[in-house]
Amino acid sequence: MNDLINKRLKMAREKAGLTQAQLAEKLGFKDRQTLAAIESGQRKLSAEELVRAIRVLNVDLDYLTDGFRLVGEGKFSWRADKNATENLLSAFEERAGRWIATYRRLGEIQGIKTTVLQPRLALNERSSFEEASADGEALGTEWGLGDTPALALERAIETKLGALVLYVDAPKGISGAACLLPGLNTILINRNEPEGRRNYDLAHETFHLLTWEQMPPEHKEPIEGNHRGKGRHKRVEQLADNFAAALLMPERVLKVFWLAREKQDINVWLNRTAAEFLVSAKALKWRLTNLGWLSKSDHFDINDAKLTANGRPRKEQSVPRIFCEPFVRRLHTALAKGQLSVRRAASLLDTTFDGLSELFRAYGLPVPFDL
């Protein structure tokens, strides 16, 4: 039974604002029950009915038959600078939607269940920054992220939230995004950003996924902690920053480093300590400020131009592999079992056959085709 077409038919009917009885009549069915049986997957839509449905609902064939595309599903919030125009974001969102839909569709074909739960933080716009920080700390403990949370965060997002984390090559100006999609929330990270930025984005977007219902983020938010939007929007982003900082730099671990600082130059110490937490020295500075640990004289001594750390020293950083292991494994299974054609896979990922081969090799998987 072709579940995809049945489900999409229901979505298109609802989008058109038609009842089952109304659409059944337009499609020439003798009663509403025929359409009900189709929508619930008990009866198949015939070719002629499919053609009629496209005309009546005014959608293209792909709307009803292409599961590798999001159709009116998914809400995105991008972390991007002023270079990223709405047109650029829109074009990239289309591509990102394809990747996310690909992962979801292959999961459906392979019988992989997705979570029906949507975890939420009990925060809202009236929550204090201290409450957001406390929740960040608490979540790190609950998820067992350890002393360097950045190292374990991606895995925790996948296993505890059932969300997908995709490392992508985004156009200049786009740092990352959160995508709210029932059953498959996703975080996109520009893998070419420095390590500290990537980790901060991951934590920041986690906040949005966990608070989307009560505090929906804007479609575009600035990268640096310079949230110039209107009152409500600025507040949400500041809460997200406080949450992210506490999640990545737990107070109990930070305290050990702080007490051992002694007479080290504050700029040097910030750079060294940020490298330990795999965050930026500037993010660490603000974390200490919010904790009230930096004195006035410390602030006087801090020179932002000297805060160069953004994760580990550059030569020790590596660019993450594109996409992520669960994504590539799902794709590999699909090609090996003939659930997706190689040419279709290459087109979905905007790559070539050679590009697909390189992708599988990067994850230590045998290339499942010789074309």
Binding site: V51, D62, S341, R343
Partner: protein, 167 residues
């Protein structure tokens, strides 16, 4: 395999025939036909990309007996019949859609596992031929990639049949 037999080919087969330099032999032995989308795909791509196979447009045209346009209705017809209507690329889908309306003794060659599975689902069992078999019939002995061999095609068909039995 009789000279002049109608054979439908997909994009992968065209590109491999050019790579292995057997296009001329195959296309002069058989009446090779293609759908428009596969024709377009065979001629598309970045020629500067490493490993890019040049498909000479004139040679391709000369070797083709017919090019078939596929309508949206034909596409809808094939998609309504497939378990996974979105698993194939546009050219592969159009090739399957085109064959739904044919009643002559056509055979076809495609080299992708998902495409072969979909074709078997549509009842193509008696219609397959590998590029290797085509080249052999035309008196050529090219060195082909695995997906274009008799052995690969046979393996995929057997696996498909076994999976249907075990379902």
């Amino acid at each position: 395999m009789q000279r002049g037999q109608v054979v439908l080919v997909d994009t992968n087969v065209v590109i491999e025939a050019f790579r292995a330099r057997c296009w001329r032999a195959v296309s002069s032995h058989f009446a090779v036909e293609i759908v428009e989308k596969c024709y377009e795909e065979a001629l598309t791509g970045d020629p500067l990309r490493p490993g890019y196979i040049v498909v000479d447009a004139a040679q391709l045209r000369m070797g083709l007996q017919k090019r078939h346009a596929v309508s949206a209705v034909q596409r809808a017809q094939v998609k309504a019949r497939l378990t996974y209507p979105d698993a194939l690329d546009a050219g592969e889908t159009d090739l399957l859609a085109h064959t739904l309306g044919r009643s002559d003794a056509w055979i076809a060659s495609c080299a992708d596992r998902a495409a072969v599975n979909a074709a078997l689902e549509l009842g193509w069992e008696e219609h397959f031929i590998s590029l290797e078999a085509m080249a052999r019939a035309a008196g050529a002995t090219p060195t082909l990639k695995h997906h274009f061999t008799d052995r690969w095609l046979s393996e995929v068909r057997t696996t498909y049949k076994l999976e249907q039995v075990l379902k």
